[in-house]
């Protein structure tokens, strides 16, 4: 469905995307994960032929990308990060306009069906300018699905949405995938990609750091666990007692709080509790710190560097 070969984009000496090799199979929900500024939107713009790559190739639906080949574009639906509309139109007029551009048969029924699916049926005759952000995002989904595309490209599809709308759109994406549509989701939200996607590519500073099944990626990200432990006294004097434990990788103290990085091969929380108790501390709370996306990228990056170093040592 989507394949890129050494896709690169440079802007005035700055490399936005470097040697990107993606492969999205038919029927996938592919998560394209990366922090803001990682090169996700540039990649999507190149996939759509709206930004000319500096080098490399893009294949969409089995054909090499040619921005003038509008037949391929008719099979793609896109929801962008920012929503742009003709705000003076009503939502229904807007969909009718795009239906005419895509030459959608049975327009009226199709539009009704989509308004019902995204929950805007009762607001279809309102001017888009009066729509909330969430409603606009839903309308963008309806527009993207209007012509029954084979491939859906979603750039940060749930950013700025309330939890109910996120759930609604997530269900819609899953339903569309069940109907056979291939879905490419770009996001900086690890949790969102985790809930939706079967396969994930992680991009950071324009480079694809990892591309694998979600489960494999999760394993790679969970080599360590970070705990914050609050005790009843100043933590610093008890630092040695924790640092000497064999499963502890790093430990930091602030006031009465320890921040401890542990190996994740098994659950060491009881061992840590015992060590702190023996050192004379009473534990007030112990929390597992969720790995932030930045930390996840750092982990993956470190793993890649280690892998490269190991390969160089071998050769």
């Amino acid at each position: 469905m989507i394949q890129t070969e050494n896709l690169t984009k440079q802007y005035n000496g700055f490399t936005a995307v470097k040697d990107l090799n993606l492969k999205v199979e038919k029927g996938d929900i592919y998560g394209f994960l990366g922090p803001n500024g990682a090169g996700k939107t540039t990649t999507i713009m190149m996939l759509l032929g709206l930004v000319r790559p500096s080098s490399g190739k893009v294949y969409l639906l089995g054909e090499e990308l040619n921005p003038r080949n509008v037949d391929v574009k008719r099979k793609i639906g896109v929801v962008s990060e920012n929503q742009y509309f003709y705000r003076e139109m009503t939502a229904r007029e807007y969909l009718e306009f795009f239906a005419s551009i895509y030459r959608v048969p049975g327009v009226s029924d199709r539009i009704d069906e989509l308004f019902k699916a995204v929950g805007l049926f009762n607001h279809q005759n309102k001017k888009i300018g009066a729509y909330s952000k969430g409603m606009q995002q839903k309308l963008a989904f309806a527009r993207a699905l209007l012509h029954d595309p084979e491939l859906l490209i979603l750039d940060e599809p749930v950013a700025n949405l309330d939890p109910t709308s996120i759930k609604q759109l997530r269900d819609l994406i899953e339903e569309e995938n069940r109907l056979g549509r291939t879905i490419f989701v770009s996001s900086h939200l690890l949790s969102e990609v985790e809930k939706l996607c079967k396969k994930v590519g992680i991009i950071h500073q324009g480079r694809l750091l990892a591309e694998d099944d979600m489960s494999t990626i999760k394993r790679r990200l969970s080599d360590t666990v970070v705990l914050t432990v609050e005790v009843d006294k100043e933590a610093a004097p008890h630092l040695e007692a924790v640092r000497d434990l064999p499963f502890v990788q790093t430990v930091e103290t602030t006031s009465n709080i320890f921040t401890v990085t542990l190996e994740a091969d098994r659950d060491y929380r009881s061992d840590l509790s015992r060590a702190l108790f023996e050192s004379g501390c009473v534990i007030l709370s112990m929390k597992t710190k969720e790995m932030s996306l930045e930390e996840a990228f750092m982990t993956i990056t470190q793993q890649n560097i280690s892998l490269l170093t190991a390969q160089e040592d071998k050769s």
């Binding site: 709206l50 000319r52 962008s80 003709y86 551009i101 895509y102 030459r103």
Partner: protein, 273 residues
């Protein structure tokens, strides 16, 4: 209708309806007719006082002024048409689908040209009514001037679209257009002033400047859409079918060249502001 034709028609329809039902179009027509009426009144006062008709085509000059006013509106309208969609992001959304730079620009061109033709149709009605009330005569020359006006408007629209294809924001388009048109006007003024001076009275550097300005002026005569307007009206006044035909031919060539340049520049600049 082919897929591309269908896309052009859809884009044209949305844009045309939006502009046609906006007040701007009618304000400009009203302004054009007010200025023409003022000129006509002065002209009629002159006839009354001097008892002499000084022109074979008395309605052509007011018509020319109306066309100028309509052209200024259309050059601004076309001059912001692409940059506004770029700035608002709507261009990007259109290009996700089967819209290309070519069919987008053609739809904009026909939309502005149609508005121009409608404005000229209003002019025809207005001047017909004027001819009935003043007995000045709705001449064949006036009809020719109206026909020429369509081609001149085509040049103006293509020039505006070209400027818009180069710029990312509405404000930049307006500023660039004003700067270029102001530059053309300033050059015309300097040229007229230098040509008006006696050659013997000019120092060597001034002579050199006059020659340079003359060359520039000749070049700009083929770039400025308003110069085409001027030449077109001259062709009508001179009543020369050859000049009339040549001006229409030049206008068509000019429009095609600027449309192609606009498509190229739009493709190179992309959809982002």
């Amino acid at each position: 209708m082919s897929n591309r034709g269908g896309v052009v028609k859809t884009l044209f329809k949305r844009d045309f309806v939006y502009t046609f039902y906006s007040w701007g179009f009618y304000v400009v027509l009203f302004a054009a007719f007010m200025i023409s009426s003022f000129i006509l009144k002065n002209f009629l006062d002159g006839i009354r006082e001097e008892d002499i008709l000084v022109s074979a085509y008395p309605l052509n000059y007011p018509l020319f002024i109306s066309v100028i006013v309509i052209s200024i509106y259309l050059v601004m309208l076309s001059g912001v048409s692409i940059s506004r969609e770029r700035e608002h992001g709507t261009l990007e959304v259109l290009f996700y689908g089967p819209v290309t730079a070519g069919n987008f620009l053609i739809s904009k061109y026909f939309k502005d040209l149609c508005l121009g033709i409608i404005a000229l149709a209003f002019c025809a009605v207005y001047f017909y009514l004027v001819s009935l009330t003043t007995n000045l005569g709705f001449t064949a020359g006036l009809v020719r001037a109206l026909v020429m006006g369509v081609f001149m408007i085509s040049c103006v629209v293509c020039f505006g679209l070209f400027i818009s294809s180069l710029t990312g924001r509405t404000r930049s388009s307006v500023l660039v257009l004003l700067a270029i048109l102001g530059g053309f006007l300033a050059l015309q003024f300097v040229h007229a002033a230098l040509i008006g001076m006696e050659r013997e009275a000019l120092s060597t550097p001034m002579l050199y400047l006059r020659e340079t300005v003359s060359h520039l002026f000749r070049g700009i005569n083929w770039v400025s859409p308003f110069a085409f307007l001027n030449r077109g009206l001259d062709a009508v006044v001179l009543d020369s079918p050859l000049l009339f035909g040549l001006n229409i031919f030049y206008a068509v060539v000019y429009s095609v060249i600027f449309l192609i340049l606009s498509i190229i520049s739009m493709s190179l600049k992309g959809v982002k502001a």
